[in-house]
Symmetry: C2
Subunit: 402 residues, 2 copies
């Protein structure tokens, strides 16, 4: 055995090990503290990211390797959520979820564009602002729902279904925004991508789950492997990569893979075997979101006012749109769905990054969108718990149904 | 939810997902094929890496993210080996292991330097060649020993102990080699690093395990966490990062962390919880070694002859040195130990990379050292199994003792 590193000079890989150690340790500490003060653990993990990130101590720089671990974090998170979801669960809530997805996308989009135009920004910048307000981070909400143990309620399933609809719509908006920022809108290529995305979701959610229902032993020994873990993980990474390649969020692929594998759960111990990966990777995702916060850029009073305005608009319009779409579920559950759709999480940050790279979002607007994403993400978990607790006390409507 | 990727253009992170999928799928296929033809699974995984790497299909480029996953692969591999090792097991074999480590390092070093000088290379190049021959990849051998279920035999424990001695010596040689290639040998700084390394190993192997033996409940609920998984993984990453920062191999730190945690095994389910991480990461390590093979550079007859000579020398000198050190164990076990020290694996490749970057290894010599590393790695597992089977048939000396 020989050193990875020349004497007295650590290699890049050795530095990555150190970053992974620091992030995981900080996230775990944040998690434990927040559990002890009876607050959502993921909020503790995000704040740990703020503390160790460039905004405060500067112990880690959120570079490429950390991004990959964060991405795998949300991929395994949504795979886990998929494992807890049956396609039949989603079918039941199909129509309401579609309404929530559509209304919860249209209202923030229109408001974002209007705000941009009112502020005197160009059409391209305004559409990017709208696109950033459309984005829902189902990863954050799903983690909170799991922590609360209410993933199988009707309201939670509505949120998951709506998130898929939301993602397809958001892809269209972002496609248009990028087209406008660059060489103009290419309607044909956007249409191709949308058709591909819808076909992808339909094929794996319907065909994939039906196939697994008929051949659940395919992940099992000795047909393919002595353990279902790697076949399941390979399916998860494959669908995540495929989704990302056609322009959808990777997590949509991971979620569909989880739903497929969930059809085999009675036969294989896949849930128990995946659990350690689910414990290991997601903290990188939550802490990574925290490292994106740039307090310096928000020191300016004008930017701070802008942040307050955009955040207020992001919350109000998503809440109103999703609530309208879910109103047939009754006020209590509609409120739960509305709040659940509010977090913008990593998705808002990614849209902001694309907009900044395309040269249509200024550094100030970038910081505002990132700030809005983090604030909506931090604010939602406590509110969701409050609504759920009230619901349990009143009618039990938000309690576990499965 | 919004796309990670702009329409029609995948992000770097999306491409990493695709690489991870391809590598894991290929490794799993290689693994299954080799299990079915009753050959060591890790050889199948390395050959899968050759097939998908630049040498054949070119499906993946072994870049930075894949390197990080390969490193975590060997880190979790050695952590797992440490979990199966008690410090008391190593104490028993201490003197023999030290002899194996020293003699198994000195002979290849002298032979490598002599070969370099005979070929008319400069002192700096010759010392690098020697350093590359010193390197033992305990990761490869440990994986084969685990697959064979003989990790707890006296011969296996001797190999693990010798690997640590070997690593400290190799660090000194590499330090001198780098010093010669650059601004000259800085004896003082090398001495500091060696003292640090020895202190690191002694502190965690003796003090760390003693601490855990006295307070095994430290990893347990509700003192620190509801599951021992993350505390154990954090300890593993922390010691691996620390080892890498002081110039030792990261895997030495991971191995020591595993030995510490193994003292708590009776109390916690940590082994079962780590197992999925051990299933997920190491395939990246084995496949990565395969992707390093450059068949093009070896097409030349002179280079091929050089490869044959260097590989023969690497095998003969390591075998002879380690066998001499272990001869008191009897011929059967001494042969097992000797063969077990032969694989150069990732460590030879890393030394070659450092030498090339320092400008003292030509592209041809680089390809030769990498080729030697991969050949010694592929050749050892079948031979080890053969020796162990004979031993089991004859005396049972290499069979499980625990």
């Amino acid at each position: 055995v020989l050193p990875d590193a020349p004497v007295l000079a650590a290699t890049p890989v050795a530095d990555v090990l150190l970053d992974l150690f620091v992030v995981l340790l900080a996230a775990k500490i944040g998690d434990e503290i927040f559990k002890r003060i009876r607050q959502p653990a993921i909020v503790g993990e995000i704040l740990a990211g703020v503390v160790i990130g460039p905004a405060a101590l500067g112990l880690v720089q959120p570079g490429e390797p950390l991004k990959v671990f964060a991405e795998l974090g949300v991929v395994f998170l949504l795979f886990w959520v998929g494992l807890e979801t049956r396609i039949s669960d989603l079918r039941e809530v199909g129509r309401v979820a579609a309404q929530v997805g559509v209304l919860g996308a249209v209202l923030p989009l229109v408001a974002g564009i209007a705000l941009g135009l009112l502020l005197g920004e160009g059409t391209d910048t305004s559409i990017f602002l709208g696109a950033a307000l459309v984005a829902t981070s189902v990863g954050i909400t799903a983690a909170v729902l799991m922590e609360m143990g209410v993933l199988k309620t009707r309201a939670s399933r509505t949120i998951l279904g709506a998130a898929i609809v939301d993602d397809v719509l958001a892809m269209i908006v972002l496609g248009v925004a990028i087209g406008l920022a660059g060489k103009g809108v290419d309607v044909a290529s956007i249409a191709v991508v949308v058709v591909l995305a819808v076909a992808f979701v339909a094929f794996f959610s319907l065909g994939g789950t039906a196939f697994m229902r008929r051949r659940p032993q395919i992940l099992e020994a000795p047909r393919f492997s002595e353990s279902p873990l790697l076949p399941a993980v390979i399916l998860c990474l494959g669908l995540a990569a495929l989704a990302a390649q056609i322009g959808l969020a990777a997590i949509i692929g991971a979620f569909l893979a989880g739903m497929m594998v969930s059809e085999t759960k009675e036969l294989t111990p896949v849930g128990r075997e995946i659990e350690p990966l689910y414990a290991f990777f997601p903290p990188f995702f939550f802490a990574f979101i925290g490292t994106q916060v740039d307090l310096g850029a928000l020191a300016d009073a004008g930017t701070l006012a802008m942040l307050a305005g955009v955040t207020g608009l992001a919350i109000a319009t998503k809440l109103a749109g999703a609530w309208l779409g879910a109103r047939t579920l009754g006020p209590q559950e509609a409120a739960f769905v509305g709040v659940g759709m509010v977090p913008r999480g990593e998705v808002g940050i990614i849209v902001a990054g694309i907009g900044e790279a395309a040269g249509v979002l200024s550094a100030d607007l970038f910081a505002v969108v990132v700030g809005m994403s983090v604030i909506t993400t931090l604010a939602v978990p406590p509110v969701l718990r409050m609504i759920a607790r009230r619901g349990l006390a009143a009618s039990g409507a938000a309690g576990p149904s499965a």
